[in-house]
């Protein structure tokens, strides 16, 4: 991933997460976005009419309903899905004649294949909330929606600044985060989850310097977290975790402090919706301190701010 620059002929230039400069002569009007969270960003920017292709993940059960609310083309499955986070169809992508493809930076072979057809590719790799801000800023430049991008970023930063003052804590509770793959799959210190926990005024009990890590049950018992927080899980719920006999002596189980984020779309940590997850976690950690925060009101306000009028449909 070296730095590469484009010529001065392009009026629009951004540097993607590979360090590669992307140049466009005019704002992209035919975008294929193969990243679900990235698509959410494009809808926030009001750039939905510039989207001509999406990831097949959009049509999955966990988020399809919300995206169908945002876009009738998705509701009636009319928006082509030429790939996803793993596999892509070069033929379908080329046939759609996009002027920009947004894709995960880890899909290196797919990126190479697309670029060989002369199609500009913006590659994304998110490790922090600052990366989320950069992504939306770059999307704003690439779609000609700079002002909207700045407005969204300012709103989110203000939300976080206000809240982080409130959540500052001298004796933070320890949180064990559980990804949906299973009890032993967690997030280390170099992850958006770690930032989420710290912004909520708590501390991540997993101090391993990795983004995603599989631990041993013994680690979990040693860490003895105050809370176990589950990412949205279609298969198991907090009751299942509370019934695990081998971890019954840790504080989170003894005190019945196991919680689950209710929806992938609502709490997506790779979008500007992450402050809602921060507030939800803070309320779980310190219920009396944040008892005045009404999560339903917060959710409704966020949807309107981020998605404009269409946010009303999401609220319904």
């Amino acid at each position: 991933m070296g730095n590469k620059t484009v010529g001065s002929a392009f009026s629009i230039k951004v540097t993607d997460f590979r360090g590669k400069e992307i140049g466009l002569e005019k704002p992209a009007s035919r975008i294929i976005c193969l990243i679900e969270s990235g698509l959410s960003g494009l809808y926030m920017l009001n750039a939905e009419n510039q989207v001509i292709g999406v990831s097949s993940a959009i049509y999955n059960e966990s988020v399809a309903e919300q995206y169908a609310t945002l876009d009738e083309r998705i509701k009636y499955k009319k928006l082509p899905a030429p790939g996803n986070w793993d596999f892509i169809s070069i033929e379908n992508i080329v046939a759609l004649e996009p002027d920009l493809v947004i894709i995960w930076a880890s899909q290196t072979e797919a990126i190479q294949a697309i670029e060989e057809h002369g199609i500009p590719v913006y590659a994304v790799f998110l490790k922090s909330f600052d990366d989320v801000y950069k992504e939306i800023k770059d999307f704003g430049i690439l779609t000609g929606k700079n002002q909207r991008a700045d407005s969204l970023i300012n709103y989110t930063k203000a939300e976080i600044a206000t809240f982080s003052e409130l959540s500052k804590n001298t004796s933070p509770k320890s949180v064990y985060f559980m990804w949906s793959q299973g009890l032993l799959e967690t997030a280390g210190t170099t992850s958006t989850v770690n930032e989420l926990i710290e912004l909520a005024g708590a501390k991540n009990c997993c101090t391993i310097d990795q983004e995603h890590v599989v631990i041993n049950k013994e680690n979990l018992i040693d860490w003895n977290p105050d809370l176990i927080v589950m990412w949205h899980n279609a298969n198991i719920d907090p009751g299942d975790i509370l019934s695990l006999s081998e971890i019954k002596h840790i504080n989170a189980i003894k005190n019945k402090q196991v919680f689950e984020f209710p929806s992938v779309f609502l709490c997506d940590l790779w979008t500007l919706k992450f402050p809602f997850a921060v507030k939800m976690l803070a309320k779980w950690c310190y219920p009396s301190k944040f008892e005045t925060i009404n999560l339903d009101d917060e959710k409704n306000k966020m949807f309107i701010e981020l998605y404009g009028k269409r946010g009303n449909n999401l609220i319904k």
């Binding site: 391993i208 049950k217 279609a234 081998e246 002596h249």
Partner: protein, 328 residues
């Protein structure tokens, strides 16, 4: 080393290794120092200590031992009846079928992962057997070929499931196929113990016949043995036992192939001796490997990688030191 002493060691060492493994693990709550403090100053929460030792470590240790022993015994039996040193319990599609079953359950949650892996593992082996059966006879070559085809079909189906699943579920599937011992618990051990006991007991009682079957069908008939019937019984027993452990421990690649060779290199080709030796050596060796995999770093490394990284050098060492005549 004298073979007799080595044999005594293989039968005697598992218990000390199991006991020593109880004191090996990433937890500081149950480290040797913490245990010393607990015994002499009672400065530790007995509840947490009990959770680590008996809720987490012991079921994993026992499941690992049983998994290693079962794969080794099944591999030894299958190599004998197939008269082929390159076969293992997975040759008839067991691992591919089980992996597909687990992936299907992980992706769509229709039945428990363990049950799905077990059923699809059996289905794959059963399919291989019936595909190879012709005029009430099953030739070894047909069986191996149908096993390869069935493995290919289930691998293709696994790819399709992976294609349609999301990144979270895909990661679970990949972790499962790399060995899944970190999720060991008492209920997994309980669910596998009955089929494993049945399978291993049958193989233990048939261990003498394996020597005759390994000579060929005509020789077996001369000795008064019905080779087709005996092979089927051994195949069913080996499949039942190994599919039960694969269902709970995931796919531990090549273990059922290399351990029988290690035992053969140490003690010779007598299957009557090899069956119990394979169980104890296979169980103990996998336990030692798992002790590395759960302590070498702060997080879990897949045991499937360690079996080859640690097993292969030992295998090559034995290959160089012994002359079993495979190159002739």
């Amino acid at each position: 080393m004298n073979k007799r002493i080595l044999k005594i060691l293989i039968f005697a060492l598992p218990l000390p290794v199991i006991l020593a493994s109880m004191f090996i693990g990433p937890s500081q709550t149950a480290s040797p120092k913490a245990l010393y403090n607990f015994i002499f100053s009672n400065s530790l929460s007995p509840e947490l200590l009990q959770s680590v030792l008996f809720g987490v470590r012991l079921p994993r240790i026992l499941l690992t031992f049983i998994t290693g022993g079962t794969l080794a015994v099944s591999g030894c039996s299958i190599q004998a009846i197939f008269r082929n040193p390159l076969t293992d319990p997975y040759i008839l599609g067991l691992s591919a079928g089980a992996a597909f079953g687990a992936a299907l359950a992980l992706a769509f949650f229709f039945i428990p992962v363990q049950l799905s892996a077990f059923l699809f593992g059996l289905l794959a082996v059963g399919s291989s057997y019936f595909m190879a059966r012709k005029n009430k006879n099953v030739s070894i070559i047909s069986l191996i070929l149908s096993g390869i085809v069935v493995s290919g079909i289930f691998t293709a189906l696994l790819t399709i499931v992976q294609y349609y699943t999301d990144p979270f579920k895909l990661q679970s599937i990949v972790h499962w196929t790399m060995g899944n011992l970190h999720n060991a618990n008492w209920s997994k051990l309980q669910s596998s113990i009955v089929p494993v006991t049945i399978g291993i007991t049958v193989l233990f009682f048939y261990r003498w016949r394996l020597n005759v079957l390994a000579l060929g069908d005509d020789e077996a008939r001369t000795a008064g043995i019905n080779p087709d019937k005996d092979k089927l019984i051994i195949l069913v027993a080996a499949t039942l036992a190994s599919s039960s452990v694969v269902a709970v421990a995931g796919v531990i690649g090549l273990y059922g192939l290399i351990v029988p060779h290690m035992v053969r290199m140490m003690f010779g080709p007598d299957n009557a001796q090899s069956i119990p030796l394979n169980f104890f050596f296979g169980g103990m060796f996998l336990l030692i490997i798992d002790n590395f995999s759960r302590t070498i770093s702060g997080f879990e490394l897949p045991i499937g990688a360690f079996t080859m990284l640690l097993g292969a050098p030992f295998f090559i060492f034995l290959l160089k030191k012994t002359n079993i005549g495979w190159d002739k």
